[in-house]
């Protein structure tokens, strides 16, 4: 192994030779023990890796977590103020939202709304068809009424 190869492998795998591929590992150990320049480079990398891994971080303030919770409280409060401001400035939005909520509630109260719609349409067509067979003038009106009712639902 040449010195440049060793530097390249140091950059690739770091100074923990145990994590190197086994073939390169033994060659690296041999180079370190015989080549002063290689040993020097190795010790430099070991040194900065060691300093890096053991660098101390000053502890955060003891109330840091409480500050996070306070920032959440503040955010919630500001959001509610903004919401209130929007509602007071644009009451129509509030009523529109109320209507939308009501529609949603009504829709959700139906069990299988698609099924109900389909059944109404089928029933309307069936009864309308019967009326047409009987040559009734009001047959078309009944069919229309059923289909209309189905769409409304």
């Amino acid at each position: 192994m040449r010195l440049d190869d060793f530097k390249d492998l140091l950059d690739t795998y770091g100074a923990d030779l145990q994590s190197w591929p086994s073939a390169e590992q033994s060659a690296a150990f041999r180079l370190i023990s015989t080549n002063i320049s290689a040993r020097r480079v190795y010790e430099e990398v070991v040194a900065w890796e060691d300093v890096l891994m053991n660098e101390r971080v000053p502890p955060p303030r003891p109330d840091a977590v409480s500050s996070v919770m306070q920032s959440v409280e503040n955010f919630q409060f500001e959001a509610s103020i903004q919401q209130a401001a929007v509602c007071s400035e644009h009451p129509e939005r509030l009523s529109l939202n109320g209507l939308r909520a009501l529609i949603t509630e009504v829709r959700q109260s139906l069990i299988f709304p698609e099924l109900v719609l389909g059944a109404c349409a089928a029933g309307g067509l069936f009864l309308g068809g019967l009326q047409q067979v009987n040559q009734s003038d009001i047959g078309i009106d009944i069919v229309s009424a059923y289909i209309f009712t189905a769409f409304v639902i």
Binding site: R39, E43, V72
Partner: protein
């Protein structure tokens, strides 16, 4: 021959333990909290239902690691706390859109922290970053302490000469003790790109620190 060996990665941790798994934690009245055994994903689901206790548990689990990551990216304690706070507030705002099949909570937090720290570093400022000499720790002798502090400042200055991505890669790998796979997810790059980034970062740091290597080697021999 005597060759100084490296300390295995993860053998020592400067601040904060990995807290992705549930940990025992107590509340003010001294009782063990009922959410202690709950996973991050489950806590996030509860937080999505506006459960602030669950959210607080998440903050308590991850705050130190998020703060440490921010600190190691910018080397400023107060601003690192601000970044951590901003990150957790974003988590709260995002809670309703959180997808359980998405990234782990910790991965998401680290990603947001790294990005916030990078934004912070890009802001114009009067004093250069990396000059902060926060109290490191209590060592037995003043000489050793001063020496270690000098070495740390040298390393910080060298780290600040790396690109933002290279700096983040080294911090995630060596200081946050994450695997290449985890670090790649946080930086939103492939594992191959992460390995390549680490290689370039190591090469650059080795080059920058070439002239300071004597004091570095002396510092670890002092220990």
């Amino acid at each position: 021959m005597s060759v100084t060996g490296p300390i295995p990665k993860g053998a020592q941790r400067a601040l904060g333990e990995p807290m992705d798994t549930p940990v025992e934690m107590t509340v003010q009245d001294g009782a063990v909290h009922p959410y202690t055994a709950v996973t991050d994903a489950e806590l996030m689901t509860m937080a999505a239902s506006d459960d602030q206790i669950a959210y607080r548990m998440l903050v308590e689990r991850h705050f130190k690691r998020v703060y440490a990551l921010a600190y190691r990216m910018i080397y400023h304690g107060v601003d690192a706390e601000d970044i951590a706070q901003e990150t957790f507030l974003k988590l709260w705002i995002k809670r309703h859109n959180w997808r359980q099949d998405g990234a782990a909570v910790s991965t998401w937090l680290y990603r947001v922290t790294v990005n916030a720290a990078i934004d912070y570093k890009r802001r114009p400022r009067t004093s250069p970053l990396g000059d902060a000499s926060d109290p490191i720790d209590q060592q037995p002798t003043a000489v050793t302490l001063i020496h270690k502090q000098e070495v740390n400042v040298t390393l910080r200055k060298a780290m600040m000469k790396l690109s933002e991505q290279q700096h983040a890669a080294l911090v995630l790998f060596y200081q946050q003790d994450l695997s290449n796979i985890e670090a790649a997810k946080i930086l939103d790059i492939s594992v191959n790109a992460m390995e390549s980034l680490l290689k370039r970062a190591r090469a650059k740091l080795r080059e920058v620190l070439k002239h300071s290597s004597d004091e570095m080697i002396a510092a670890i021999r002092d220990e």
